[in-house]
């Protein structure tokens, strides 16, 4: 369907891409949805009119409703369970009109709560006094402070950065080696994608390398949309070179000359820091034409997102860069064959790329010694503000989850469950933490999902029914709307729960919600609609007693 559009977008892609111009247009007024703006963009890019408006009205930060908003309050899961946002809203109400306060979903300040964005800067955990100072013309304190701890020794992803010269030694060596050698190392390493699905990296890279075509792309998925996750944010802001090195290796391996990092707008610092690191590498002669005389040409650039969770899904992300509505596409074709602008593309998560340095320095077999047989290498977790020492924790795959909790000093508050892996990850009752190790298989076997491994705590004081409603509502808000089960099922689910919460005479029919979740799970096109039933089923199973008043007692037979 998007064949022609991709081609058109490609034709214009050399200079400034349509999506970037949409985002730019919105920076002036808060929206790119004004008919004249949309039309001008459409004309310039040779797209049809309907396409451009359709795309623009999709994004939180481009659509019409965004016009005139001055401050954006985080409504992500971690800030929700932190219980900070009502108070924050009230406090902001003293400096802003109601219509000037908008929402934003997760700024990666989950370790502190109370997160909001103002004039392109993120803040969290601000006292009333600090807020007052900030809005009366002060600069405020936007620094992001959290623990970075490695349980794994020696640390890999969180190891101190030794400077460009030293860090890129394995890359320089690689340029003299041959690609089949790297293919073997990647295979031996057993490295699997860290974005959630755990797909073996060597398959993807080899697939793209084997795809025909002179033009190929490397795309880094830096849309880290999972509320509660700030792993990619940590890497981009504190270890940006690790991501860039991974992309450069991918480019060399597959024969791509352009790498694009799609970074969410909620992470302004990440964009700034990655841009600086790119400039640094260019200055060091590690980017550009004929890098270090090897004949390898490679350039990197960042593209800023515009507020849409589904842009983390790979096909939606590619459509977004192309300036189309970021709707999920049916696969095949896979991006390795037809990706960005329909060219072969390697698309990986930030953390996945960051692992490449370790594969090069330890060798594939050495890397595979870290972790379990099926889940190799190091993994980062991000812990939210309910932990005594919230922050980024590096562990070897296979490490008991309880060790991570212990390392973080346990919980500050009474917590009944943790949701690991974002809104589509499982809800793990605290009693089950001891049964899990940090790897794909352990979580899967126990009926949960490791996902990207952001951790959100659900305190005892937080009603599970409200959390379920939050999950349904999140899905309804963020669904791309392309497929019926997700678009309609999530809305229906949210309505059912809202009704049960507000009307004590109403109970949700167990069969009905069971069928709703089964349909979403079985028939959705992507893992948003297909994935959200998992945590809700976990909650229904493990918190049956707490939820009983909201559900019809006797499960009906159909």
């Amino acid at each position: 369907m998007s064949e022609n559009l991709s081609a058109l977008s490609f034709r214009k892609s050399a200079d400034k891409n349509l999506f970037e111009r949409m985002v730019e247009a919105a920076e002036k007024t808060g929206t790119a949805a004004a008919p004249e703006t949309a039309r001008a963009l459409g004309e310039e890019s040779l797209f049809g009119d309907a396409i451009t408006l359709g795309a623009v009205s999709f994004y939180d930060f481009l659509k019409k409703e965004n016009e005139g908003k001055k401050v954006f309050v985080c409504n992500g899961s971690a800030c929700l369970t932190a219980g900070t946002q009502d108070k924050l809203h009230d406090a902001l109400g003293r400096s802003f009109k109601h219509e000037e306060i908008g929402h934003i979903c997760c700024l990666g300040r989950c370790h502190q709560g109370g997160a909001f964005q103002h004039e392109g800067r993120n803040f969290s955990g601000q006292s009333d006094a600090a807020l007052g100072e900030l809005f009366s013309g002060g600069t405020g304190d936007s620094e992001d402070r959290y623990e970075v701890v490695s349980h794994l020794q020696p640390a890999q992803l969180t190891a101190p950065f030794p400077g460009v010269e030293k860090y890129f030694t394995p890359f320089r060596d690689l340029l003299k080696k041959d690609r089949d050698w790297l293919a073997g190392e990647l295979k031996d390493s057993g490295l699997r994608g860290r974005g959630g699905a755990g797909f073996p990296l060597h398959f993807k890279w080899a697939g793209c390398r084997a795809s025909e075509g002179k033009v190929k792309y490397i795309v880094c998925n830096a849309d880290e949309g999972d509320p509660g996750a700030y792993i990619d944010k940590y890497l981009m802001e504190q270890r940006p070179h690790s991501v860039l090195l991974g992309m450069m290796v991918a480019g060399w391996f597959a024969g791509a000359e352009v790498g694009i990092l799609y970074i969410r707008a909620e992470y302004p610092d990440s964009i700034r820091i990655v841009d600086a690191a790119i400039a640094e590498l260019r200055a060091a002669g590690l980017l550009g034409k004929n890098i270090l005389g090897s004949g390898f040409n490679f350039e990197l650039k960042t593209i800023k997102g515009a507020g849409a969770y589904i842009c983390g899904e790979e096909t939606a992300l590619l459509a977004s860069i192309e300036g189309q509505r970021p709707e999920v596409r049916v696969r095949p074709p896979f991006p390795t064959v037809e990706g960005l602008y329909r060219k072969p593309t390697i698309l990986n998560n930030v953390e996945t790329f960051s692992n490449i340095h370790a594969v090069l320095t330890l060798g594939g077999k050495g890397y595979a010694k870290i972790g379990t047989a099926q889940s190799t290498g190091p993994k980062l977790l991000s812990l939210d503000s309910h932990f005594a020492k919230p922050g980024i924790y590096e562990v070897a795959m296979g490490t008991p989850l309880a060790d991570v909790v212990a390392l973080a000093g346990g919980f500050r508050t009474k917590v009944k469950a943790i949701q690991v892996g974002g809104p589509l990850g499982g809800i793990v009752p605290v009693g089950k933490i001891g049964e899990l190790t940090v790897d794909f298989e352990s979580f899967k076997k126990a009926g949960f999902l490791l996902g990207h491994a952001g951790v959100v705590s659900i305190p005892e004081s937080f009603p599970m029914i409200e959390y379920i409603q939050h999950l349904f509502q999140f899905t309804a808000d963020e669904s791309c709307g392309k497929c019926f089960p997700c678009r309609l099922g999530s809305t229906r689910g949210a309505e059912l729960v809202a009704k049960a919460r507000s009307d004590s005479s109403y109970q949700i029919d167990r069969t009905l919600i069971g069928d709703l979740l089964d349909t979403m799970e079985l028939t959705s096109l992507c893992a948003l609609g297909g994935g959200v039933p998992l945590p809700i089923k976990n909650a229904l199973q493990h918190f049956e007693e707490e939820l009983r008043p909201f559900l019809s007692s006797a499960p009906e037979k159909r």
Partner: protein, 559 residues
């Protein structure tokens, strides 16, 4: 000369559908393969002529691929056929092609549950106003919910309200509440009509179909979106609420607005036409039809229709009218006569016209009136006569239709031509003026509506419109196709071929043609292109009869 060229081998693949192994050409969509195996798969978003977005999730089947041994050989079962490893989740069948050894289950419990679940979600947002919905009777939602669902949704109380009457364009209204966002309309406008005015705006459950704010859906193909909308969310302003579809009689015929000869269905009731919709013919129009062609039928029911034969303006009976016409013709020498035939006549009529020409011995004093416009690059041909190919074949015009009309004008002006027969054409469009017409001894005109010529007609013979008669035409690509009668001609109007038959008989004696089939037979005897055929053998989809490309007719002025 017959060097056997082997047909290009289309590789076939073996596919198991509901336990039965069948063969399909490589490249067949799974959903189509199931259909060919008589297992209909419900679908909303899939349309065979458009891209497959896979968004409605209705076409779920169970799918599997052959089990492989470690050395990549298929594991064979007791029956010697490959064993299948089934994918644990249902898969959509609209976006994948069949593959060797693939297994498909179209009705397993998992599949049924999945479809039931999807349908129930859909019904939620649907207003269930079937009694007042135009689509009722051809609604896929109604149909599938009975066949594949539980017939109702358990979520009934919480419908999202959306606008009911959105004017998308001059001919199309959207009921956003009924729309299930299958995107067929969007894809049609983009992929077929090449006019990208529709799109989805907003996100998730707010998604809705919209035109760009500055644009309207006024493309000449816009009404096709109504045909393909599976649930009646798009309605034709022309047809809306006028008639329930199940009351309509459907007549398969062809369009006559241009030389394409698009295949159509006429929906009529009690002699009134309510709508015209396209009929699938992949050799002609696919499944599409331009709006201009669809809506051009009102004139058939015009109250000014000619309903009685007249002589010098006075109503007479048919026998009298025919006799007087014959007398006039016989009273003139051949040199004093001219005949204007029409590219809108059927082959049968043209053939009888050629017989009349023979009877009158006016071998070169005839032509047709060419009509040309601009081809739209889609379905509208530059030739706006539907049967120029037939007229050329049967010899009513030269290879340059209209090139002889100049002679008609000269002859009338010089006084050499005294009487003109016109079979459905307005002579003032052939280069003659009203004054020229006044100079003539007589005009014998056959037509359905008054025009600039009819007031001058000595004998005026009321004929039938294309929806009122049977016959055949040959389109610009040389395809012989069939017209069928949807409604009866008004008053005493006669079928054109009968008028011609009677006129020939009156001029030269009986010709033994009793039914139209006889005309076809006689025509087949004279013209080898029709040999071995009959109206019934032409079939609903027609047949190619003229292979070499007939040159596009030149405008008359060019000669």
């Amino acid at each position: 000369m017959s060097t056997e060229t082997a047909a290009p081998a289309v590789p076939m693949v073996n596919v198991q559908i509901d336990g039965v192994w069948l063969q399909f050409p490589k490249g067949t969509r799974v959903i189509e393969a199931c259909g060919q195996a008589q297992k209909f798969i419900p679908r909303y978003c899939y349309h065979p002529k458009l891209s497959s977005p896979g968004n409605c999730r209705m076409c779920m089947v169970e799918m599997g691929m052959p089990k492989m041994t470690p050395d990549r050989k298929p594991v064979l079962g007791a029956d010697g056929k490959p064993e299948i490893a089934w994918i644990p989740r249902p898969q959509i069948s609209c976006a994948q092609d069949v593959a060797e050894g693939m297994g498909i289950r179209t009705g397993s419990p998992m599949v049924e549950e999945a479809r039931k679940g999807v349908l129930e979600f859909l019904l939620i947002n649907h207003p269930l106003d079937c009694p007042i919905c135009d689509q009722a009777g051809e609604c896929r939602l109604q149909e599938f919910s009975v066949e594949f669902g539980q017939g109702e949704s358990r979520f009934l109380d919480e419908k999202v309200k959306k606008p009911k009457n959105v004017e998308l364009g001059p001919r199309i209204t959207l009921d956003a509440e009924r729309c299930i966002l299958c995107t067929r309309c969007i894809r049609f406008m983009k992929e077929v009509a090449n006019d990208d005015v529709l799109g989805i705006v907003e996100r998730g459950s707010f998604n809705s179909i919209a035109c760009h704010p500055d644009r309207i859906l006024d493309n000449n193909y816009s009404l096709n979106t109504v045909d393909i909308c599976p649930v009646g969310a798009l309605t034709s302003n022309d047809f809306r609420f006028k008639m329930r579809v199940w009351f309509l009689k459907e007549t398969k015929t062809i369009d006559v607005n241009c030389g394409t000869g698009a295949n159509i269905i006429i929906g009529s009731r009690e002699n009134t036409i309510y709508r015209i919709t396209p009929r699938e013919n992949n050799d002609v129009n696919g499944v599409w039809l331009p709006d201009s062609h669809r809506l051009n039928f009102k004139y058939v029911a015009d109250e000014r229709r000619l309903t009685k034969p007249t002589v010098k303006g006075q109503p007479v009976d048919w026998r009298t009218a025919t006799a007087i016409a014959a007398e006039i013709l016989k009273a003139h020498t051949a040199e004093q006569l001219w005949l204007v035939a029409s590219g809108r006549q059927t082959n049968e009529e043209l053939f009888l016209t050629s017989r009349l020409i023979d009877a009158l011995e006016i071998e070169k004093q005839h032509d047709i009136l060419p009509r040309t416009g601009e081809a739209d690059g889609l379905l509208i041909a530059a030739d706006r006569n539907p049967n120029t190919t037939g007229a050329k074949l049967i010899g009513l015009c030269t290879s340059k239709p209209g090139s002889r009309l100049k002679k008609l004008v000269e002859g009338v002006r010089s006084g050499a031509i005294k009487t003109v027969i016109t079979l459905g054409e307005d002579l003032t469009k052939c280069g003659l003026t009203a004054d020229d017409l006044k100079k003539l001894d007589a005009i014998i005109a056959l037509d359905i509506l008054p025009n600039q010529t009819t007031p001058h007609a000595t004998v005026l013979l009321p004929a039938s419109a294309w929806v009122e008669k049977r016959g055949s035409m040959i389109n610009v690509k040389g395809r012989l196709q069939r017209l069928n009668r949807a409604v009866a001609a008004p008053g005493e109007a006669h079928d054109d071929w009968e008028i011609l038959r009677d006129l020939i008989a009156a001029v030269s004696g009986s010709n033994g043609l009793a039914v139209i089939e006889d005309v076809f037979k006689a025509m087949a005897a004279d013209h080898s292109e029709f040999a071995g055929l009959s109206l019934s053998k032409i079939g609903d989809l027609g047949l190619p009869v003229v292979t070499e490309k007939t040159p596009e007719p030149e405008p008359a002025a060019a000669n």
